[in-house]
């Protein structure tokens, strides 16, 4: 699956896309693929604050839990409620299925993130190892 070039990525396999000062965050195809069938998403509440490189929730398969790391710092402005009943959407369309939206408190953090090409080469290194 292609990694959208307008997104940025973390080494923990989250993606983020910016619209004004609002970042939309999800997990990558690589992440959903290594986790397998996702059965549960534990997301923060609207109004919670998140910090770059810190966990903000987790995604679960039947036999694994993977922490979610925020690409940026800020305040949660929306949570994808539909994942409560249909977490499998992440498996079906990882790059279209967002988990939270965040109002960025420090927009410069965007610059520290990987672009699609850098992320892809990071992933191929990981799988190669």
């Amino acid at each position: 699956m292609a990694y959208p070039t307008n997104y940025r990525y973390t080494k923990e396999h989250e993606w983020i896309v910016l619209e004004g000062n609002t970042g939309t965050i999800g997990i990558t195809d690589y992440a959903q693929n290594s986790l397998g069938d996702i059965v549960y998403v534990d997301a923060p509440k609207v109004g919670d604050s998140v910090t770059a490189n810190q966990t903000f929730g987790s995604v679960e398969s039947v036999k694994a839990v993977s922490d979610l790391y925020s690409p940026v710092s800020g305040t949660v402005t929306a949570v994808n409620e539909s994942l409560k009943t249909t977490p499998d959407k992440i498996n079906e369309a990882p790059h279209e299925t967002w988990i939270i939206k965040v109002e960025l408190s420090n927009p410069s953090e965007w610059e520290n993130l990987l672009d699609a090409a850098a992320y892809e080469s990071f992933v191929s290194e990981e799988t190669g190892a």
């Binding site: 069938d37 059965v39 549960y40 679960e60 398969s61 039947v62 977490p87 499998d88």
Partner: protein, 512 residues
């Protein structure tokens, strides 16, 4: 009526047979059926509604209504859907699925023991107290420790108690310290336990032999390290031959050595943790000492410790008044009466109500008595012999990531089979078709795709040979018909179950 021929084909040591279908007990219920009869009330009947007022239950609970024969059939049918040690080898690594002697069950049900109320005055409970006392003596001798509590209800509960002792001792020294070191090969209960005792968990990477990396240990132990939680033999079934160095490194920094006794079945009668530097440890009576697993419990997790930790043991502690200490442990009671002592100012407190899973103490003691010192040693030797035999017979087919000598279990990896697209979990499911319970799958975590095999001493050479043949046969299938393995089991009542659906939309109870 279907006319297709029914295959009565033998695979290894099994041939399919019928099992009865059986719905949920609620689906079988019909109003008015009864399986009970209370004796006539010999006191005046009461009007529950006027006695209880607003606290009187209006709607009855939706319990099923069946006759006795239907209940017998219901649970008997369910039982036939289970695999069990009584049916064959159950080589779950780390779980020690050994024979559960029936005399254990018999003696645990002796009226004077089974019906003893926990608050009966000590004077009227001397019989059960003698049993507890004798078991305590046997277990302290077996472990080489000085003191023991039988209160913890299971292994993880024992870990909790043991780490509480560690913490209480450090506090008495002026500093509770902050972290517990846990090898990456450890059971999941270890880090979970450290966390609930208020400690940070620091991971200790295993060395290339799967054991403790002494240099890493040396680096990581500091003045804030409370203890190392060590499983010995480790979860890959290897004895830590550097154990004395490990204890020395810890003790030099004032840290303690906790031993997870899950693998004690490899040691009993051959070597004692108390002799190799362990300060505190738990035992699993449901592993090493043959009390039944019962589909997940009950267990019992006694904690044995060195003298300096004794003041911190949970209350109450069993004490014998008067009488001089015995030089040898015999089954005839020592002079002096036993009683529970509650006044223990340094105790960590209670970890459960009453005194522990007493019914399991009775069973474990019956097992120890049936074996004696020679039987226990032979048991350990046979357990280690069996594991090494399995290893020798399968080593050519399966990747052995750690070549160190095995004790009571052997851990292979699925590397060669995974290359053909068959993972340890698939292989395990196929073993079911051959009439065996699978080995432990994907544990320990330091072995990717682990096959963790613990035969225990309870398997005859014949059963082991059948198991080995099944493993070899499945390995051939991986080469020739991998789909057959990947879609196993094929002979059970149900095929692979949809665990994803179960987790996404949990249905945890029946609703009529």
């Amino acid at each position: 009526m279907a006319t297709e021929s029914i295959e009565r084909k033998t695979v290894g040591k099994v041939r399919p047979h019928q099992t009865q279908n059986e719905g949920l007990v609620f689906e079988k219920s019909s109003p008015g059926k009864k399986a009970y009869k209370l004796p006539p009330l010999d006191v005046p009947a009461v009007d529950a509604s006027s006695l209880l007022g607003e606290t009187h239950r209006q709607a009855s609970a939706g319990l099923p209504e069946l006759s006795e024969i239907e209940i017998i059939r219901h649970f008997t049918r369910l039982s036939t859907w289970n695999y069990a040690i009584d049916l064959g080898m159950y080589p779950l690594g780390s779980c020690t699925m050994k024979y559960n002697p029936r005399v254990n069950e018999f003696v645990a049900r002796i009226e004077g023991l089974a019906e003893a109320h926990p608050y009966r005055p000590d004077a009227q409970a001397q019989g059960i107290l003698e049993v507890i006392d004798l078991l305590q003596k046997c277990l302290t001798e077996i472990t080489g420790m000085d003191a023991i509590t039988l209160q913890p209800a299971a292994g993880a509960h024992g870990e909790f108690t043991g780490i509480l002792l560690v913490r209480a001792w450090h506090e008495s020294q002026g500093n509770a310290r902050k972290k517990i070191l846990i090898p990456d090969s450890a059971h999941g209960t270890n880090p979970a336990t450290a966390a609930i005792c208020g400690y940070a968990v620091e991971n200790l990477k295993s060395n290339s032999e799967g054991g403790i990396d002494l240099e890493a240990l040396e680096r990581q132990v500091d003045s804030e390290t409370a203890a190392l939680m060590l499983t010995n033999p480790s979860t890959i079934g290897v004895f830590e031959s550097q154990i004395h160095r490990i204890a020395d490194i810890l003790h030099a920094k004032g840290a303690l050595l906790y031993m997870d006794g899950a693998n004690m079945n490899a040691l009993v009668g051959k070597v004692r943790p108390g002799d190799f530097g362990v300060d505190v440890m738990h035992l699993n009576l449901h592993k090493t000492f043959s009390t039944p697993h019962g589909g997940g419990g009950p267990g019992s997790g006694p904690v044995a410790c060195k003298r300096f930790l004794e003041p911190f043991l949970p209350t109450p502690v069993l004490v014998r008044s008067a009488g001089e200490p015995q030089s040898s442990v015999t089954i005839s009671a020592a002079p002096g009466a036993l009683h529970w002592e509650y006044d223990r100012p340094q105790s960590v407190g209670r970890v459960r109500a009453f005194y522990g899973n007493t019914g399991m103490f009775i069973r474990a003691l019956a097992y120890i008595l049936a074996n004696g010192p020679d039987g226990l040693r032979q048991t350990t030797e046979d357990a280690v012999l069996n594991a090494n035999y399995v290893r020798a017979k399968l080593e050519d087919l399966f990747e052995l990531p750690y070549k160190t000598a095995s004790m009571h279990e052997v851990v292979f990896s699925d590397k060669r089979q995974a290359a053909k697209g068959v993972k340890t979990g698939d292989f395990a499911k196929r073993l079911i078709d051959y009439g065996f319970h699978p080995y432990t799958v994907s544990f320990p975590l330091i072995v990717p795709g682990a096959l963790m095999i613990e035969p225990t001493e309870s398997e005859s050479k014949e059963e082991l040979d059948l198991f080995i043949e099944a493993m070899r046969s499945i390995a051939r299938e991986v080469e020739e018909t991998p789909e057959l393995v990947k879609t196993a089991p094929h002979s059970t009542r149900v095929s692979r179950l949809d665990e994803v659906q179960a987790a996404r939309k949990p249905v945890l109870r029946w609703r009529g």
